[in-house]
C-alpha cells in the first residue's frame, strides 16, 4: 500500500546515491517538482533513465546528479537543444556521464519487459543503424518458429520510478488520464515508485481515457499541486510554453544555469517556495 508522504521524505527514502531512477512523462505529466527535490537533496551518481530527457533531466545533469543516462531523445521539445546535456556529453561538464542510447520503440519495449517480469523485449528495431555498435544492450534474436532475425533489448527495472499524476485517493490509488506515455509501465517495472499528484481526493471517480494504478504497486504518493510545471496535467494546468523557451537562455551557459539552480532550487525549500521564486504561481492558477 502506498504511503501518503511529503515529497521531501519520499525522495529521501527512495532515491539514494547510485540509484537507478526513471522519471517518465511524455511531454504531459513530467515530474519536475520531484526532479528539483532530488537536486535539492544533492543526490549523486544516479543512473537516470528517461525516453525523453528534456528540461528536468537537463537540470539533474547540470547539477551533477547523474553519472549515467539511458535515453532515446534528448532535446527541449519545440525549442531546441538541451544545453546541459550537450555540455556533459561534449565537454564532460560538470563531469563525464556515460550514455546508453536507444530508440523510443526500444525504450518502450524495455519498460514493457520490465513491467512484465521478462528479462528482455523483442522488437523490429535498430536494424541498419549505427546505434547497434554503441551499446551492448541491443542484440539479435531468432524466432524459433520462422528463423527470422529480430532485435532483443534488456528489460528496464529501475530502483525507483517517479511520475506525476492528476490525483490519488487517501489509500494511495493513483489516477491519471490524457496522454499516458510509458508511465504505468515505468511504475510497474520499478522496485519502488513515487507519484506526485495535483490533488488527493476522498474517492476517485471514473474519467474517460483514465487509468488507475492501484495503491499496492506504488510506494509513496505526494501532494504537489502543479508539480509538473512547466509541463502540464490535463484537467488541472496548461503547458507553460514560455518557460520552456526561457530555459534555452538559462541553460545556455554554465554560469546562468548554476545561478538559476542556486537561486531557485538549492535556495528554495520545496516546490511552493520554488514556484514563488520563479513567479509561476499566478500564471498557473490563471491557466489551471
Amino acid at each position: 500500500m502506498a504511503e501518503i508522504l511529503e515529497l521531501k521524505e519520499a525522495v529521501a527514502r527512495y532515491v539514494k546515491d547510485g540509484s537507478t531512477i526513471a522519471m517518465e512523462g511524455f511531454t504531459h505529466l513530467i515530474p519536475h517538482a520531484a526532479g528539483h527535490e532530488i537536486i535539492r537533496q544533492g543526490r549523486r551518481n544516479l543512473h537516470a533513465i528517461r525516453m525523453t530527457p528534456d528540461m528536468v533531466y537537463d537540470q539533474l545533469i547540470g547539477a551533477g546528479c547523474v553519472s549515467k543516462l539511458t535515453f532515446s531523445w534528448g532535446g527541449n521539445p519545440g525549442v531546441g537543444s538541451l544545453h546541459r546535456f550537450r555540455d556533459a556529453v561534449e565537454n564532460n561538464w560538470p563531469h563525464q556521464i556515460e550514455i546508453e542510447e536507444h530508440s523510443h520503440a526500444g525504450m518502450a519495449a524495455r519498460y514493457v519487459a520490465g513491467a512484465s517480469g521478462l528479462p528482455f523485449g523483442v522488437l523490429r528495431g535498430y536494424v541498419g543503424t549505427d546505434l547497434v555498435d554503441q551499446t551492448s544492450s541491443i542484440k539479435t534474436i531468432s524466432c524459433p518458429f520462422t528463423d527470422e532475425e529480430l532485435t532483443a533489448v534488456p528489460a528496464l527495472n529501475p530502483d525507483v520510478t517517479i511520475i506525476h499524476a492528476q490525483r490519488a485517493d487517501r489509500e494511495g490509488n493513483v489516477q491519471l488520464w490524457g496522454l499516458l506515455g510509458v508511465q504505468r509501465e515505468a511504475v510497474l517495472a520499478a522496485k519502488s515508485s513515487i507519484v506526485t499528484v495535483e490533488e488527493i481526493v476522498d474517492k476517485l471517480t471514473p474519467v474517460s481515457g483514465g487509468v488507475v494504478i492501484p495503491s499496492w504497486v506504488v510506494s509513496a504518493v505526494c501532494l504537489v499541486s502543479n508539480g509538473a510545471h512547466p509541463s502540464y496535467a490535463s484537467g488541472y494546468s496548461q503547458r507553460d510554453n514560455s518557460f520552456y523557451k526561457s530555459w534555452d537562455d538559462i541553460a545556455k551557459d554554465r554560469e546562468s544555469f548554476t545561478e538559476w539552480v542556486k537561486n531557485h532550487i538549492s535556495g528554495t525549500t520545496d516546490f511552493d517556495s520554488f514556484s514563488r521564486s520563479v513567479g509561476i504561481s499566478a500564471l498557473v492558477s490563471a491557466n489551471g
Binding site: 525516453m51 514493457v112 528495431g125
Partner: protein, 261 residues
C-alpha cells in the same frame, strides 16, 4: 519551427515545403494510404494542412499515443493536450510503437534530421564521432523504426551543403543504406525514403541506384543552386518538374492554421 510571415501573400520557403508535403499527403490519402505518423514542426503543420485541404483526409498519428488527431490548432509539442482531446483513440507509448508502427499500419512517416546522405540515410545523433562528438544532437526518438517500417518515408529538410552529405557521420535512420538491395538484405518491411522535400524542391531516389536525384525545383530555383547546396554530386532529373504555384486556397488554409495557434 515554422517561420510565420505576417502577410498571406508572401510565401516563404518553409511555406513551400509545407504545402508540397501536404499535397503529397492528399494524393496518398486519395489512394487509400492515409495513416500518417507525424512529428512536431514542419511535418505536423503539413499534415494538419492536408487535413484541411483534402478529402479523404490523412489520419494523423503522433508518437505520444494519439491516433486520428484532429487538432483545431497546431500542437505546440508532440504531447500537446489538444492532440489527445481531439483523437479517435489515445493509447500508451509502448502500444503506439508495437500495435501501430511495428505492425505495419503506418502508410507515411515523416522524418527530418541534421544530416541526410545521398542514399536517404539520416543522422540525428551526433556531428563528429560518437565518442567525442562535435555536436551532440537529440538522438533517435521514434525515427529508426519509422524509417524501417512505414510504407514510405517523406523527409523534410532544408537543402544545404552541410546537411545534405555524401555520408552521414552517424546512421540514425536507415534509408537505402549503401545502395540497391541493402534494405531487402536487412529484411526491412517499409518502403524507405520516397521523397525529400526541401526549400529548393524535391529529391527522389533513382529506382536503379537508390541515389537521391533532384526531380522538382521551386519556381525561380536553378539546377546550379540545387547542386551547390548539396554535399554529394547531385544529379538533376532529365524531366525536372517545376513546383506548382501555391494556390490561394492553400496559402489561406495555411495562414488560418498558423493564426489559430
Amino acid at each position: 519551427m515554422v517561420n510565420v510571415t505576417p502577410s498571406a501573400n508572401t510565401i516563404s520557403t518553409d511555406d513551400l515545403m509545407i504545402v508540397n508535403a501536404a499535397r503529397v499527403l492528399g494524393t496518398l490519402a486519395a489512394a487509400g494510404k492515409a495513416a500518417c505518423f507525424v512529428g512536431i514542426g514542419l511535418p505536423s503543420t503539413a499534415a494538419n494542412l492536408a487535413r484541411r485541404l483534402y478529402s479523404p483526409e490523412p489520419v494523423l498519428i503522433y508518437e505520444s499515443g494519439c491516433i486520428g488527431s484532429k487538432p483545431t490548432r497546431l500542437p505546440l509539442s508532440i504531447g500537446d493536450g489538444e492532440l489527445a482531446d481531439t483523437s479517435d483513440s489515445v493509447v500508451s507509448v509502448p502500444e503506439i510503437f508495437s500495435y501501430w508502427l511495428q505492425a505495419g499500419r503506418i502508410d507515411v512517416g515523416f522524418l527530418g534530421g541534421a544530416q541526410l546522405d545521398k542514399f536517404g540515410n539520416i543522422n540525428s545523433t551526433v556531428i563528429g564521432s560518437y565518442g567525442k562528438p562535435k555536436t551532440r544532437l537529440p538522438g533517435a526518438g521514434g525515427a529508426p523504426e519509422i524509417a524501417a517500417t512505414a510504407g514510405q518515408v517523406i523527409v523534410i529538410m532544408r537543402q544545404t551543403k552541410r546537411a545534405f552529405v555524401d555520408r552521414c557521420d552517424f546512421r540514425t535512420s536507415f534509408g537505402f543504406g549503401d545502395g540497391p538491395g541493402h534494405r531487402e538484405r536487412l529484411g526491412l518491411r517499409g518502403g524507405g525514403p520516397k521523397l525529400v522535400i526541401t526549400d529548393l524542391g524535391v529529391l527522389e531516389p533513382d529506382p536503379e541506384t537508390c541515389e537521391l536525384v533532384q526531380t522538382q525545383m521551386h519556381r525561380g530555383v536553378t539546377a546550379e543552386q540545387c547542386v551547390e547546396n548539396t554535399g554529394w554530386k547531385l544529379r538533376i532529373a532529365k524531366n525536372v518538374f517545376t513546383t506548382d504555384a501555391v494556390s490561394d486556397r492553400e496559402i489561406n488554409a495555411l495562414r488560418e492554421l498558423q493564426s489559430a495557434t
